[in-house]
């Protein structure tokens, strides 16, 4: 045993791998391919429909941004090894909370927003705490929260206002300092300038004559971009990101080397709630109202985006960029079918098919990475 091999000679059994293979085992592969295919398809079928005019691009970009916002939260949580099925109900709950606090109870809009964020993140934390303390699968714990939150939202709306849709948020949000952070538009000056130069379409008659049809970049898109950058950096470039991978990869192994797994998981539940809350606030500010049935099925759409983006349902592997690409595919197809004049019910067929393909591809990629047979 004394003659140990200190000199590292190249191992003849390790095959050198092509850079193509390196590319193949990136989690974003499915998302990149999907985006290319989807854009190619709609460029061929819906080029003349206005889908790729400025207002058309804005249309599907906004929808994609909505998906991205909830997908980033769901992605980090899934990599940390957990699910949150209460995202959709959380969106309804947060929106209703903002509308009731500001319109019905007369709080300033900024404080209604801040209180709602605190409340939602506490509920997110509760989700995490319950999952950790009970040791139950997050699937079941958050399924319970899905019903509890939805029920509370409807109950609250009915009790306080006798309605399930609470309007008038836009009026109370006039002049508020925080509301434009979620509902406003940026670069409006640049768009007006481009309109003045005749580069982009303007309204040709009516009170808005001369103003650009697309007034600016909605804050929703800024949030989406910001969350993707934040999520990507957090996951791949920080210490905490390594803990997220570790918590989802093997919680026990991570605990043995001192990773605070419980804290990581609870933080990710809270972050998911935060993302749901951003979505809800932007939606309420855009519509000027909150509905008790908002956000139905959003949790699944978020999870599907994440899976299309290459994350494994079992945790420990995935990418925020991939999830964002998945969300873009989602948004482009949903809106694109409308532009292409295709029956919109086919959207769900597409969804099911692409989900299935994504999961099969992901399983294959995982085998490649781990070298399983």
């Amino acid at each position: 045993m004394s003659q140990t091999q200190t000199a590292a000679t190249p191992d003849e059994r390790v095959k050198t791998r092509s850079s193509f293979h390196q590319l193949l085992i990136r989690p974003e592969l499915g998302g990149i391919c999907g985006v290319i295919i989807v854009f190619a398809f709609f460029m061929l079928t819906a080029m003349d429909s206005g889908m790729f005019s400025l207002s058309g691009v804005m249309n599907w970009s906004v929808v994609s941004s909505q998906f991205i916002i909830i997908a980033v939260g769901a992605c980090l949580l899934m990599i940390a090894g957990e699910f949150d099925l209460s995202v959709g109900s959380m969106i309804g709950f947060a929106g209703m909370s903002i509308a009731l606090l500001s319109v019905t109870f007369g709080l300033p809009v900024w404080s209604a927003i801040i209180l709602t964020f605190i409340l939602c993140m506490l509920i997110g934390g509760l989700n995490g705490w319950l999952v950790i303390k009970t040791g139950l699968p997050s699937f079941i714990v958050t399924l319970a929260l899905l019903f509890i939150l939805r029920g509370l939202t409807i109950f609250g709306a009915i009790t306080a206002t006798n309605k399930t849709i609470v309007g008038g948020v836009r009026d109370v949000a006039q002049g508020d300092w925080l509301a434009p952070i979620f509902g406003g538009k940026v670069f409006t000056g640049a768009f007006q300038w481009m309109a003045d130069q005749g580069w982009i379409d303007t309204f040709s008659r009516g009170v808005k004559k001369g103003q650009p049809i697309v007034e600016g970049i909605p804050m929703l898109m800024v949030w989406a971009l910001g969350l993707v950058i934040f999520g990507h950096y957090l996951l791949t470039k920080t210490k905490f990101g390594n803990w997220i991978f570790a918590a989802g990869g093997d919680a026990q192994a991570a605990r043995y080397v001192g990773v605070p797994v419980n804290r990581v998981k609870i933080a990710m539940f809270m972050f998911t709630a935060f993302c749901a809350c951003v979505f809800a606030t932007a939606q309420v500010m855009e519509f000027g109202s909150a509905g008790a049935d908002r956000g139905v099925l959003k949790e699944f759409e978020a999870i599907i985006s994440v899976v299309i983006g290459g994350a494994l349902l079992t945790g420990g592997y995935g990418s925020v960029i991939g999830a964002a690409l998945g969300a873009i595919i989602f948004g482009v197809v949903q809106q694109g079918l409308f532009f292409a004049g295709v029956e919109s019910s086919l959207f769900r067929v597409f969804l099911g098919v692409i989900l299935l393909l994504a999961v099969i591809l992901n399983t294959y990629i995982r085998r490649k990475i781990t070298g399983e047979k």
Partner: protein, 254 residues
């Protein structure tokens, strides 16, 4: 005589009405490989978990570098320098070798006041440490899943050593491995021992123990059956002790 790095005196551990350990003593000196042998259910796992802070002893004393010590959680034991490598929970297959190596101990650098995971430093250290242990990585981003069982154990051992382990507890590192891989892990143990680290090597394979062990302690039904030095005891004798004498005697009747 130098002081042992860690000395466990008369450790008892009860789980409710079950007495898992009824007075086990063991000491580890720097640069020594102390083999802890015992059959399944002998209390090996309970004992090392007490040593590494996962369990707290019901009674008994623990001295770390001559000072009385009690660890209430694994993190405290790790900080003190007691590292444990568990057989199947050493590594996370989906993560890269580098990410695994620095899991829980990530090096950081500050950029504009924000602290980031220093990937370059981590990758360089990992490659160097792996080379030292005789493992050739394709790249520091290679997933641990592509490594063999023996290589995974080696990475885990290298990690523990790099982060300043004084005592390295190896929980059955060879029990699931083939002949060649076992030889590699035993070679790694030898390397670590030479660096002055005390190794506690848990196994129920007497042959593996005889290759690297300096002292041998046999556990049976929660009790120590004594500690023997290398050369004082034969493999057959250890095997008999592990099986508890009686059972083997019965077998011989046939």
């Amino acid at each position: 005589m130098e002081t042992p790095i860690i000395e466990m005196k008369n450790i008892q551990k009860h789980f409710g009405s079950v007495i898992a350990l009824s007075g086990v003593s063991l000491s580890v000196y720097p640069g020594e490989c102390h083999c802890l042998l015992g059959d399944n259910g002998a209390g090996k796992s309970t004992f090392i978990k007490t040593m590494s802070g996962v369990h707290q002893a019901t009674s008994g004393e623990i001295f770390f570098e001559g000072k009385p010590m009690s660890f209430s959680r694994p993190r405290e034991a790790i900080t003190a320098g007691i590292a444990t490598v568990y057989q199947d929970l050493a590594m996370i297959p989906l993560m890269s070798v580098t990410r695994n190596f620095f899991m829980g101990n990530e090096p950081t650098k500050k950029v504009a006041g924000i602290s980031f995971f220093d990937h370059k430093k981590a990758a360089d250290i990992t490659m160097a440490e792996m080379k030292e242990m005789g493992i050739n990585l394709r790249s520091p981003d290679q997933a641990v899943g592509t490594l063999s069982g023996g290589e995974r154990q080696t990475v885990a051992i290298a990690r523990a050593v790099h982060f300043g382990a004084k005592v390295l507890i190896l929980d059955e590192p060879t029990s699931a491995l083939g002949v060649r891989q076992t030889a590699n892990v035993l070679a790694t143990i030898e390397k670590v021992r030479k660096q002055g680290i005390g190794v506690v090597f848990i196994t129920h394979n007497v042959n593996h123990a005889m290759v690297v062990g300096d002292r041998f302690t046999v556990l049976n039904r929660g009790k120590t059956l004594g500690t023997a030095k290398r050369g004082e005891i034969e493999a057959d004798e250890l095997q008999n002790l592990m099986a508890g004498g009686q059972e083997l005697a019965k077998l011989e009747i046939r």
